[in-house]
């Protein structure tokens, strides 16, 4: 098999995932796009391992490790997203601009107000 086929497929899949990460607004959909990017890397690893015939099978071992790390990543990522959803009532990336725990109004036109009260919120966060 020509090596270009899996390599090009992996490159295109990575770019589709890149588009998803940049363009999606929901945090869970963003995590799905990250999974697509990780899978593109896995396909590259497997293809090059099969091409090089490594005696240690390092490409496939690394693929297994990547899959495990991806599973851990999606678990933690979803836990964080659920925590944000519970605190803010939204899983919208564009509306989660701050890490402090204030009672932020989740509207776009409240930006000015929230900018004024940032000092108070930081004090609350420390306390």
């Amino acid at each position: 098999m020509h090596l270009v086929f899996p390599a090009v497929l992996a490159a295109l899949l990575f770019c589709v995932g890149l588009y998803g990460v940049l363009a999606r607004r929901n945090a869970v959909l963003m995590l799905m796009s990250v999974e697509l990017m990780l899978n593109a890397v896995n396909l590259n690893l497997v293809a090059f391992d099969v091409w090089l015939r490594d005696a240690l099978h390092s490409g496939q071992a690394l693929t297994l490790f990547t899959i495990t790390v991806a599973a851990a990543e999606i678990g933690l990522g979803l836990a964080i997203v659920l925590l944000i959803f519970r605190n803010r009532g939204t899983a919208d990336i564009d509306r989660v601009g701050r890490l402090t725990d204030g009672d932020e109004k989740a509207d776009g036109d409240e930006k000015a107000d929230s900018a004024e009260t940032v000092g108070d919120d930081e004090m609350e966060g420390v306390g």
Binding site: L36, L43, L82
Partner: protein, 185 residues
């Protein structure tokens, strides 16, 4: 495939030597790409997760075609089995709407499209130029379960154990994050 073992590779293969494996690989690859595109563009959030199943399952078939059977089944088990179920639970717990949600894409999607197209053009040009004359010999199986197990437990034991600690840490972290704190009076 058996022919490649006898004669030198470059003399038997043209630039695009369409063997059966290659044709199937390209067809499944087109399916995977289409499903991935639908995953990142569809307006219905649950449909995106289901298209992700199609893309990841197609990738498992690609692994099988590359004779990496153990990776293929691990892909089916972990990605299609576990990760997609987690994603579906995440969608439900964040109260994703079932129908069409028009604000699934953020405002910078044209910028994202430009970035993705530029990256795709660069990567594909580079990859095609670099591996124009390279062929994979699929005559012998490269990723049988036995070979993978032997190398994993003979040469990669320490990273394997470190990964189990990582999984434990992720488990504890997820529990700590999603535990509801008691309200202070």
């Amino acid at each position: 495939m058996n022919l490649a073992a006898v004669v030198p590779l470059d003399s038997t293969h043209g630039f695009l030597s369409p063997s059966g494996v290659e044709i199937v690989f390209v067809l499944v690859g087109l399916g995977v790409l289409g499903a991935a595109l639908l995953t990142v563009t569809t307006k219905q959030l649950v449909h995106a997760a289901l298209w992700l199943v199609v893309a990841l399952g197609g990738l498992a078939i690609e692994y099988l075609l590359l004779t990496a059977e153990f990776i293929a089944w691990v892909q089916v088990l972990i990605y299609v089995g576990a990760v997609v179920v987690l994603v579906l639970f995440g969608l439900m717990l964040t109260r994703a709407p079932i129908g069409v949600s028009p604000d699934a894409d953020s405002g910078n999607r044209w910028l994202a499209l430009g970035v993705a197209l530029a990256a795709a053009a660069t990567l594909v040009t580079l990859v095609v130029d670099a591996f124009r004359c390279t062929w994979i010999d699929l005559g012998t199986v490269a990723g049988s379960t036995k070979a993978n197990g032997v190398t994993l437990f003979r040469y990669w034991v320490l990273p394997f154990e470190a990964l189990s600690v990582l999984l434990l840490a992720a488990l504890v972290g997820a529990i700590v994050l999603s535990r509801r704190e008691k309200k202070e009076p």
